[in-house]
Amino acid sequence: MGWLRKLVDLLDPPADIATADTFSSDIHSARYDAKNRLRLVLMHDRTQLSPAMLDQLRDDMVEVISKYVEIDKEALEVNLESDESSTIALVANIPVLRTRSSIAT
């Protein structure tokens, strides 16, 4: 009977993304895209930090941190993230290669 259930789900998909069955098409649905894109664009809108400004911030951070430690510049990530309570935070991941012996002058 499983095939019949799958046929029914195909013709009339479940309404709730969270309980979406094995159909990966739900994850790539327009609704899912809209929600994700909106979350991201609103974080930038609300903090007035555009993706371009974030890139600039990243470059500046690389410059400053490189004075103290050698970092993997390609792997450095700076992103805006928000949690369930809608607080937005700037989150950076800075892989360190090795500390310099002295601060560069």
């Binding site: 019949l4 998909p13 309404a15 993304i17 739900d26 609704r31 979350r39």
Partner: protein, 276 residues
């Protein structure tokens, strides 16, 4: 005769209907919440602040009855009472029209506040229809208001603009209460995951929900006839607006089930699922 005439000390509630994005249903929402409240017996005035692009008169079917408008009032060419257009079909309802031949600079916030202060003495509800945008029109519309209704559709641009508007409303101390109306929802598209649903939008915007209006062709028909859809008993959108009016008046009304009527597919699904 106003069913619930307020006491002399009580002033009317000034509620601005705004959105940011154009074309999402502010004017339709203003007209219908207003008509809904008037049907319940309240004294209601609708104020059109879209100077230069007025439309509230059209939605109410009062476009031929306009003699004076809000700019005439603030420029002292007439008294406020002369500018109010009374609706013959709904005696509790009046319209203060916008000027059609001027623009948003013809009115400022101080003038707007003095108009709403006067209206508060006479009416239970003053519903202000805001134009699209965040410039002078929006500033004028929100000038005298203490409450706001934000209208958006479940679409990206509309939600983004609503977020901006909510941010602006948050910074206005005088506006202490604001809620969301989601308009033009298509339950069919939600089911196929092509459109965001009510919970998706609420999660993103973090605002309280006032009501949801389904997409309904009857709205076009009623606008063409110059008749608010709350007066159409058979319309689902009309029912939704009537419920919203009741909630504005303080009643606790459960949200309508907007799902499509049961089809053979639903019944077949029920056969296979363990529980509802």
């Amino acid at each position: 005769m106003s069913k619930l005439a307020k006491s002399k000390n009580e002033k009317g509630r000034v509620i601005v209907v705004t959105s940011g994005k154009g074309g999402v249903g502010k004017t339709t929402t203003t007209a219908n919440i207003g008509a809904g409240l008037a049907r319940m017996g309240f004294k209601v005035v609708l104020v059109d602040t879209d100077i230069g692009l007025r439309n509230l008169d059209l939605l109410m079917g009062l476009e031929n009855r306009i003699v004076y408008n809000i700019v005439d009032v603030v420029e002292d060419r007439c008294k406020l009472s002369q500018a109010l257009v009374k609706d013959k079909r709904m005696p509790n309802l009046a319209l203060l029209p916008a000027a059609q031949t001027r623009d948003k600079s013809a009115l400022n916030e101080e003038q707007m506040k003095s108009v709403t202060d006067q209206l508060k003495e006479e009416f239970d509800y003053i519903l202000v229809d805001s134009p699209a945008g965040i410039e002078q029109g929006f500033l004028n519309a929100t000038a005298g208001a203490t409450e706001a209704i934000v209208v958006c559709t479940p679409e990206m641009s509309s939600v983004r603009d609503a977020d901006r508007i909510i941010g602006l409303l948050e910074s206005k101390e005088e506006i202490t209460n604001y809620k969301l109306v989601i308009n033009r929802l298509r339950p069919g598209m939600v089911k196929t995951n092509d459109m965001m649903d009510v919970d998706d939008v609420l999660e993103i915007l973090s605002i309280k929900l006032l009501g949801v209006i389904p997409e309904d062709q009857d709205i076009i028909v009623s606008t063409n006839k110059g008749e608010p859809i709350v007066n159409t008993d058979s319309s689902l959108a009309g029912q939704a607006y009537r419920n919203i009016a009741r909630r504005v008046a303080g009643e606790d009304v459960p949200f309508l089930n907007l799902d499509m009527p049961s089809s053979w597919l639903e019944k077949l699904k029920g056969f296979f699922t363990k529980s509802a």
